[in-house]
Symmetry: C2
Subunit: 99 residues, 2 copies
DNA sequence: AAACTATATTGCAATATTACTATATAGTTT
DNA sequence: AAACTATATAGTAATATTGCAATATAGTTT
């Protein structure tokens, strides 16, 4: 038997990042932020066929996963990639696929 | 406005693969298959703290996402990574993070 | 202070995910 | 053919996700 009681940190983190990437709207948002370096929520929602409130939810999900961060500059919020975690995710995926 | 009506193929595919990777048990299974080259469902479920039927569900999810394939060899089924799609996923992630 | 702007939150409904136990399937051995 | 083995599926319950309209928030301009 010897059932492991839990998963490793890497398994948990990769799953967490993947869950955040698991919706095309969030992939779109991240692609957009990669190109623009930074942007406002309005820029994003004007390009997607979903309501503002839904975009806001996706942004919150990406923030909670650590992939983006927002700088408040009223009345807008400027979003950008969280580079530290982005690099971590990149490394995790590279390791995962290269092994 | 000019709302796009849908997402690109790449956005959809990356989201689909990510959704499949969005659970630590499925990350574990794929890591296991990477190391073992191939294995049986029983090998996997003996290493995870979840029921056989739940492992079976995760295997089905990975199969539907195209990341693994099974060869029937009664009474066992030998699972392995689907190399074509694995390479595609790898390329999609590389592009996504390198841009 | 009232109106405005950009964004977030709430409340709700529909659907999907996760996990389990119990049962079914399919092929093998006795 | 009956018992066995490995795996899948059905049925069920709890929880999570997705999306929207309506409302709230917070700062700015008139």
């Amino acid at each position: 038997m010897s059932k492991s009681l839990t998963y490793t940190d890497k398994e948990e983190k990769l799953a967490q990042y993947s869950k955040a990437l698991g919706h095309p709207a969030r992939i779109f948002i991240l692609n957009f932020l990669e190109k623009q370096c930074s942007c406002f929520a309005g820029d994003i929602s004007s390009q997607l066929p979903i309501a503002n409130s839904t975009v806001s939810q996706h942004l919150t999900a990406l923030k909670e996963a650590g992939l983006i961060q927002g700088t408040i500059n009223p009345p807008t919020i400027k979003y950008c990639i969280n580079k530290t975690n982005w690099e971590e995710a990149k490394t995790l995926y590279r390791e995962f696929f290269e092994v």
